[in-house]
Symmetry: C2
Subunit: 321 residues, 2 copies
């Protein structure tokens, strides 16, 4: 037995072509909270951002300067941005749908402004009653102003992995939308699986389409976990050379109309996977779990990270075997 073991020594791990480090964008304070029906106070939002800053994120999506009529939850963006304890090394981003929003973001000293568009014509027509190309063209003034002000400019492309109205999106369409955002001067472009329907091979195909027109190292993956596919899609994206990922503390997010819909991939679960593979993030998992427990309690929701729940339970339970 022993001799056989020596002759057949286990092989070394396959590399999966993984990177040494990735950049994480924590979107919980904005994408995570914006659909909460119950108002979350500015004080809670500020504490959440401060806890996330302390955890070490390179980028936190902290506010949205949309009309309060659209998204009342985000009406206190200026107050939040004005009160957070900014950490050197963290970029604080704000969503800016128009010039009014841009001016507010500039006044609030956002480090990055975020514009957006859909990869789906049906989605664009139903939601804003214009074509994708028209919706992106409307961002030209914001993009120009961001450049003039020396701010980072990021674009988020929703429904890139599928649309509730038209299903799969043609790869050429994704590339076209990415190219339009590139032509506006975007520094970074997010490929978002807004409804969480993607699977790993499709994810790689979409990332390859995007990378055919924009530098791969400045593409980001934004995955919702509605169908539980976010982590395998991120693993597949890593293998396709993607190095920036979005996640939401406690898996905040989702849709107020859909009981079954879940939010963004939980930051804690993503950190567990990345750190388990030796990939550096600069983020402290324990501090994120504390932030996740804090915000979940503050908004009265069950804690939505499997890793967070498991690690919080560990120690105060009889280990199960």
């Amino acid at each position: 037995m022993e001799r056989k073991m020596e002759r057949n020594a286990p092989a070394l791990p396959q590399s999966l072509a993984l990177p040494e480090a990735v950049k994480l964008v924590e979107v919980g304070p904005r994408d995570g909270l914006q659909n909460e029906a119950r108002h979350v106070s500015a004080a809670v939002k500020i504490e959440l951002v401060d806890r996330l800053s302390a955890a070490g994120f390179a980028n936190i999506e902290a506010a949205s300067f949309v009309s309060p009529k659209w998204v009342p939850q985000m009406a206190d963006g200026a107050e939040v941005m004005g009160a957070i304890a900014r950490r050197a090394g963290t970029v604080y981003s704000a969503l800016t749908p128009n010039m009014k929003g841009f001016e507010a973001a500039l006044a609030a000293e956002a480090g990055e402004v975020v514009i957006f568009g859909a990869a789906s014509e049906a989605f664009s027509q139903r939601n804003i009653n214009c074509s994708v190309a028209e919706s992106i063209a409307r961002f030209e003034p914001v993009a120009a102003a961001a450049k003039a002000a020396g701010l980072r400019l990021r674009a988020s492309i929703s429904c890139a992995l599928g649309c509730p109205y038209e299903g799969d999106i043609a790869l050429e369409k994704v590339a076209d939308v990415v190219a339009r955002m590139r032509d506006l001067g975007c520094d970074e472009i997010d490929i978002a699986d807004t409804i969480g329907v993607g699977t790993p091979l499709r994810t790689q195909a979409v990332m390859e389409a995007a990378a055919s027109v924009f530098p791969r190292e400045r593409l980001a993956g934004h995955f919702h976990d509605t169908y539980g596919q976010a982590l395998p899609n991120i693993l597949a994206s890593l293998q396709a050379g993607i190095r920036i990922f979005h996640a939401s503390v406690a898996g905040l997010g989702g849709c107020p109309y859909a009981k079954g819909a879940s939010g963004n991939v939980a930051t804690e679960d993503l950190l567990y996977m990345l750190h388990g593979m030796g990939i550096h993030t600069g983020v402290d998992l324990d501090q994120v779990i504390q932030a996740g427990a804090f915000i979940s309690e503050a908004i009265g929701r069950p804690y939505g990270s499997r890793v967070g729940k498991a690690l919080l339970e560990r120690g105060r339970r009889q280990e199960c075997v």
Copy 2:
């Protein structure tokens, strides 16, 4: 723009070296239900197995012939095995801890008997007060009897990705335990992440260690989703050439002592990923979702599959965008 698109046509999907088909072992009726505190009637178990048979699984773990003193929930194994509507093409498995269990499984016309051991010495010592090697040696009579009776023999190796008492398990130890099970004549060997702590690179390393002493195509991956890592670990296993996976309808399972611990990977979520990548399973997702909704209601638990919840909600909700 158009010309540029043509010159930079999106690349084809990377293959990830995926197989055309995999074999799924549905473990919900046994591994999923065994820790339920409230008794589940034989009638419910029978209906669950029948629904799963109709869905097309190649293998269903349907019963456990352990002492009713150990696992009272499984005391009605003979009744269940005697009443299910057996489908041609489905193997019905039963856990057999000893010769008494084997005789019961044989009488119940199980198509496969399952023996088990841990990859962790600490786990083995604490739970059954003997070494891993001793615990496996005790299965020699069962293994011999299974071979003599022409039954398939499967071994499940728990804690292969980590142990609650000793953490990581040495790869050599995993290979040693796999080799001991091989020497008993096992047709198939499960590599189980019992406490769900594994991540993809470690998973590949453990699978490679197992494959160094046993044919890769007869290794199975059994992943719990406690830390949300089951699907990425399965994706990594697929890339390491593993072709058999366990899953539990509705994500049944987990630990009665641990509120935060979740069960096996939900079959529905795994099917969604596999089918989304064009991998054949022979299993009908819609029928599994109906079975998952049935058993969740029958045992009074929230439905634990993200895919099941999302697809059941779809159609009766306002689509969220």
